[in-house]
Amino acid sequence: MAHSPALPLSLPPGVWHGRAWAAAQQRVQPTGHAALDAELPGGGWPCGALSELLLPPHAACEWTLLLPALACALQGGTGRAVLVAPPQEPFAAALHDAGVAVQRLCRIQPPAHDSADSAAVWACEQALRCRDVCAVLAWLPQARAAGLRRLQLAAAQRQALLWVCRPAAQAAQASPAPLRLALRHQGEQLQVQVLKRRGPPLAAPLLLPARSPALAAALQAQARRRGRMQAEARATEDVRHVLARLAPAP
């Protein structure tokens, strides 16, 4: 060939250069975190694709990441969101305070002995087929890759939001999800590592605030109050020392 082996300029849909972003072909839902939006293809959670969140044990930090997007997805319209197999009881009052339209949430609790989460995966699939469901949030710690692939296909057909929370130990396994995020607590912040996305690999993990603004403000106020009280206590201690020195020796 006389020409340099340059790639053709117009690539078929679904193919993109390794260093560039995939052309945004689907709707996205902004995450509510500007730093995270900047690192996701299209600038938000993909509608019609499986987004996988990998959580360390006992972390339960998915709400911090998802609440803004969930509140936004349920705003207006008549769409509903389905929570499949949450590990504990979601506190609807707290979600209400975060702006989520709680009356349009639905909790599905499959039976306790659910081998490979098959009942939960089935429930997700059914929910994704429903025309009124706009978001599905599922906790599937034991689901197999075949089940996840079915979910990915179902989500792609209905253009709904689908988040699946899985344990961090599954990070090494292959997954059909086009977007995989690993979450970790790092001190006061939430560290988000993008394991897989339709775009260039992420150099450094993202840091997001781990706590809701209200809680962070309350903690800060309490810390300030405590610091002031300690300073006051130290001051009174000093004054007492000075007074003791001033006192005439008996």
């Binding site: 006992h58 972390a59 979601p90 009052a93 979600l95 949430l105």
Partner: protein, 446 residues
């Protein structure tokens, strides 16, 4: 008079189903429906204006007839009299060419009354209706019987026809014999589906949708493993919206039957409609349907399907209540049986530092010295206390009882809430019960 003849499905209805049930679907289009030999006859002249003309009614019938497949062209025929329509249908089934003159050129064997004599007439050189009609009537009546001539006159439209019109029963209740003894509940499903099809025809003719129906099966044995058995066992299905489309009911029935265990082999199956409601007539839009409209099942069908498979308690909707006690702020109700009364307006923001996960019931925490511990590590109290003192008015015990220890007012809650942290447990929401002094975990921030 103008008649349609529709071929009935080749397999006979299961024993117990009246033969008329095969014609219920057509009662929607005309009240004059009759069964004759192997065909269903519809008199459509009286109603074709209502349906927008003969061609429109023909298209509707072809779309709605059960079991109309690719060979549907051979499944129906139409003619000015019932017997002509039937004869044309038989001719189409045989694959013969359409007659040049109607009804003169119809073969003799297409008229039921002439079939026994077709061979003898053929020897006379008489092959068509017209040829037979040209013969002297007195001789024909003497040799072949007056019934032949009467049938021919009816077919020609010269004599009146008396048809046994199908009437729709006021209540839908069918009981059928199973083709074989059903050992498992899934074996009932095939017959149940045929009953559902009959129900669909009945509903369409009545322009109703079913809200509740009951499927019952008869036990073959009086006693099984020494246990007296009731003669019938039943299963009730309910839907929130009136249903005429059987796909959803079939799914629900399959789920319910899959979970059902038969106490003994069953020999008979019965389907009854318990409650029906008029079907709301959907009006069609002027513009063609939006191609971007989301396909998929409606929400209520999803909820019913999930509840049928997983149990009604597994699919829940939250309701918020204005209360200060966290465990009373929300209640989860089964989505298929919402509590009576309209959903209350969501209360204003609760404020406070509510965690997104609630631990129910509150988990008692171990103490190390005076500090509560979780996962073996002492917790640092970082925000609080937030005092909650409520529920003294409540006489009935609530979930709070285990925390407050059954004092005079069981619903009484006197607590100080703190946001606590430890490296192992993360950020949690704990409270100290002011009555007993015990510490409890009540929420997780993550």
């Amino acid at each position: 008079m103008y008649w349609h003849a529709w071929r009935l499905p080749p397999e006979p209805p299961p024993p117990g189903v009246p033969a008329a049930a095969q014609g219920w679907w057509a009662l929607r289009f005309t009240p004059r429906v009759a069964l004759l030999d192997e065909a269903l006859l519809l008199e459509v002249q009286g109603t074709e204006r209502l349906w927008g003309g003969r061609a429109a009614l023909r298209a509707l019938l072809r779309a709605q007839a059960p079991g109309s497949g690719p060979e549907a062209a051979q499944d129906w025929a139409e003619g000015p009299t019932a017997l002509q329509a039937l004869a044309l249908l038989r001719l189409a089934r045989l694959g013969g060419p359409p007659p040049r003159r109607l009804p003169h050129d119809l073969p003799l064997s297409t008229l039921t009354a002439l079939r026994p004599h077709a061979l003898a007439l053929q020897h006379l050189g008489c092959r068509t209706w017209g040829a037979l009609r040209a013969l002297p009537r007195a001789g024909v009546a003497r040799r072949f019987g007056a019934a032949c001539l009467a049938a021919l006159d009816q077919a020609w439209g010269d004599a009146l026809e008396a048809a046994a019109w199908i009437e729709l029963p006021a209540q839908f209740a069918l009981e059928v014999e199973l083709p074989a003894l059903a050992e498992s509940s899934t074996a009932l499903l095939h017959t149940a589906e045929r009953l559902l099809l009959a129900l669909q025809g009945w509903l369409r003719a009545r322009r109703q949708g079913v809200l509740a129906l009951e499927l019952a099966w008869r036990h073959d044995l009086r006693r099984h493993d020494g246990v007296e058995l009731p003669p019938w066992q039943a299963l009730a299905l309910r839907t929130a919206a009136p249903q005429q489309d059987m796909a959803h009911l079939r799914r629900l029935l399959a789920e319910r039957l899959g979970r059902q265990r038969l106490a003994a082999p069953a020999s008979r199956l019965a389907l009854r409609s318990l409650q029906t409601a008029p079907m709301p007539e959907a009006s069609h839009g002027l513009l063609p349907a939006d191609p971007h409209e989301a396909p998929g099942v409606p929400w209520q069908e999803l909820v019913e399907h999930l509840s049928a498979r997983l149990g009604p308690q597994a699919v829940q909707l939250p309701r918020l209540h204005a209360d200060h006690r966290p465990e009373c702020m929300q209640r989860w109700h089964p989505a298929v049986q919402p509590p009576p009364g309209a959903a209350p307006e969501p209360p204003g923001p609760y404020g406070g530092l509510l965690p997104p996960w609630l631990v129910r019931p509150p988990r008692p925490l171990a103490l190390r010295g005076s500090r509560p511990c979780l996962h073996g590590q002492p917790l640092r109290l970082l925000a609080g206390p937030q005092r909650v003192e409520a529920g003294w008015w409540e006489a009935a015990p609530e979930a709070a009882q285990d925390a407050s220890g059954g004092s005079a007012a069981p619903g009484l809650v006197r607590r100080d809430y703190f946001v606590a942290h430890s490296a192992a447990a993360g950020w949690v929401w704990v409270f100290r019960d002011r009555g007993t002094g015990g510490w409890f975990l009540h929420g997780v921030y993550g």
